[in-house]
Symmetry: D3
Subunit: 133 residues, 6 copies
Amino acid sequence: MFSVTVREHLMIAHSFQGEVFGPAQRLHGATYVVDATFRRAGLDADGLVVDIALAAAELAAVIGELNYRNLDEVSEFAGINTSTEFLAKVIADRLADGIRAGRLGEGAAQGLSQVAVTLHESHIAWASYERDL
Amino acid sequence: MFSVTVREHLMIAHSFQGEVFGPAQRLHGATYVVDATFRRAGLDADGLVVDIALAAAELAAVIGELNYRNLDEVSEFAGINTSTEFLAKVIADRLADGIRAGRLGEGAAQGLSQVAVTLHESHIAWASYERDL
Amino acid sequence: MFSVTVREHLMIAHSFQGEVFGPAQRLHGATYVVDATFRRAGLDADGLVVDIALAAAELAAVIGELNYRNLDEVSEFAGINTSTEFLAKVIADRLADGIRAGRLGEGAAQGLSQVAVTLHESHIAWASYERDL
Amino acid sequence: MFSVTVREHLMIAHSFQGEVFGPAQRLHGATYVVDATFRRAGLDADGLVVDIALAAAELAAVIGELNYRNLDEVSEFAGINTSTEFLAKVIADRLADGIRAGRLGEGAAQGLSQVAVTLHESHIAWASYERDL
Amino acid sequence: MFSVTVREHLMIAHSFQGEVFGPAQRLHGATYVVDATFRRAGLDADGLVVDIALAAAELAAVIGELNYRNLDEVSEFAGINTSTEFLAKVIADRLADGIRAGRLGEGAAQGLSQVAVTLHESHIAWASYERDL
Amino acid sequence: MFSVTVREHLMIAHSFQGEVFGPAQRLHGATYVVDATFRRAGLDADGLVVDIALAAAELAAVIGELNYRNLDEVSEFAGINTSTEFLAKVIADRLADGIRAGRLGEGAAQGLSQVAVTLHESHIAWASYERDL
């Protein structure tokens, strides 16, 4: 199994609902350093898992929809705690949509079998979500 | 599959028995930077894999039992080489015990499916152990 | 010259005023990984620059005043862009106050000559402020 | 499942063929920080996944065959794009050969079940290949 | 004293002349992870050391002149060993030229007092050059 | 001013004397990731701060004198707390001795002006010592 990973980052504000969150119930924010991993069983004709420039551009586009936002005001997330693990899934699902739509190339749409996303929220905590394509 | 990881560190002394260990047969020590990963298929009602504050506290408690010790004098490890990979299993097993005992919450006891522990012994070497719950 | 550095982190929301900030004029947030460095010419009677437990606790206390807050609503920062470099100075100045007040011990109050603070806002950008005591 | 990872690095020149590579079609180069991971279900009689000194020496030997070379002139790679993911497989396969040949010890030859290799090409991109033994 | 640092990377091929370089006399290459630091005594009217977007764009432009090249064929470097420390100075000097030319803004041209550049050539070696403006 | 840094690591056991050290009064240990920095105003005839292979070998030799030892039993350190900052000075002073003795080459003996050593004791704490030559 092969994989390629590209890294970007995302800066947002949000708050959490529920006593379990303690002071994080207040409006605060985070930088997420985001690692997106693309997996497939074999390489394409160019010897690649994916065109890394396309992969980086698509990750940047997905992150651009969320970047510099207060997630408490994003209607799609109304009533949801936008936890690190939840956001990892949001980004992975949007990357999967892009792959299926051919935005990483036709070869990738057919060849890639899995995507995984890790969000580092600090030097001591991170969360991941991985899924099949 | 979702996961959340928290990081702590551990400082111990020990020595190894066996010619394969060369100078590490002498009493020496290590800092282990410890990453504990908790995995589950879906998120709980708060949108979480695990209450990260509880997870960090439990990891700190497990590490606290070993921290600032000479492992050669810990009776539980008598006659055992406390290698990095061995210690990864010790910590993973103790975390698993804590999860089953409900110390990370009832939801975690039921929802978590796997725990993995990585110990970084330097910038050029690390070891892991992962197990089902 | 000796130095000791301890690391913590800080999660806040804020927005910036001025066209130069582009999309960062919107309410967003950041994790700052904070490195606080303490410098002095010689070591104390215990062979230390500073009691590292006290230094870590004081850094945590200073960060605790800002953590999980929307800095746009902190009266002390009204009308100020709470840039990474600005926040580095806020934290360094508060650490300097604590050192002078003896919160890192009497020896530190007399022996330390400089404090420096670096805030990492992502994997590709950080800012620092350093000052004499 | 246990694993042990050792890190080395590799500095090479090469160029790529295909419009997808843009400016990387020119002769350029890279430092690859190489992580080699060895996996097995249980520990050996010394409490180890593998003799880490042997593992590090074997990784250094495999890398030494490629290090400080222009891969465009290595006959084995004629007509092949020596992408990061391709090179991860080259190194993993050579490590697998070494394991089977007993160069990591007889116990490793029998006990190890999997090898994985990650090549970091920069702070924002890396690629991996993993295989059974 | 305040500073802001931005990170980019650079991938080149080159060879060295002189027995001291051993196997690095062969054509090989490197990824340099490049940190550019800008220093000044006080902040500007926006509360900044420098417009970080301009700083990042200028660093990218300076690196773009060298990126994906065989430095042995760059006429400006004929007869010169393009060591890591030498390249740190090349980049720092070009950044200094850009600052003086106003490409980081008029405030930066007047307010910045120093620039420093660090090139990481692997996980175990890096080099820096710093200069006044 | 130019600098070059090389990284190695050191694994020791020790204990501390004094109530300030709390549980670290027990025999324990540490991995120190050691960064040694060599500084000079100009480059030598090869375009270098120092022959990096010689610098790395000398750092390894200095560390080899301490590695895999219980520092409580090293007579040179009797009655001394072998704190991270103290050990940074020990290593820096021994490197300075080596430079003056010509072990990094004649050019380095004359050209280098400063040495600095940083010891990382964990992911959240490190200490440095720097001195003139």
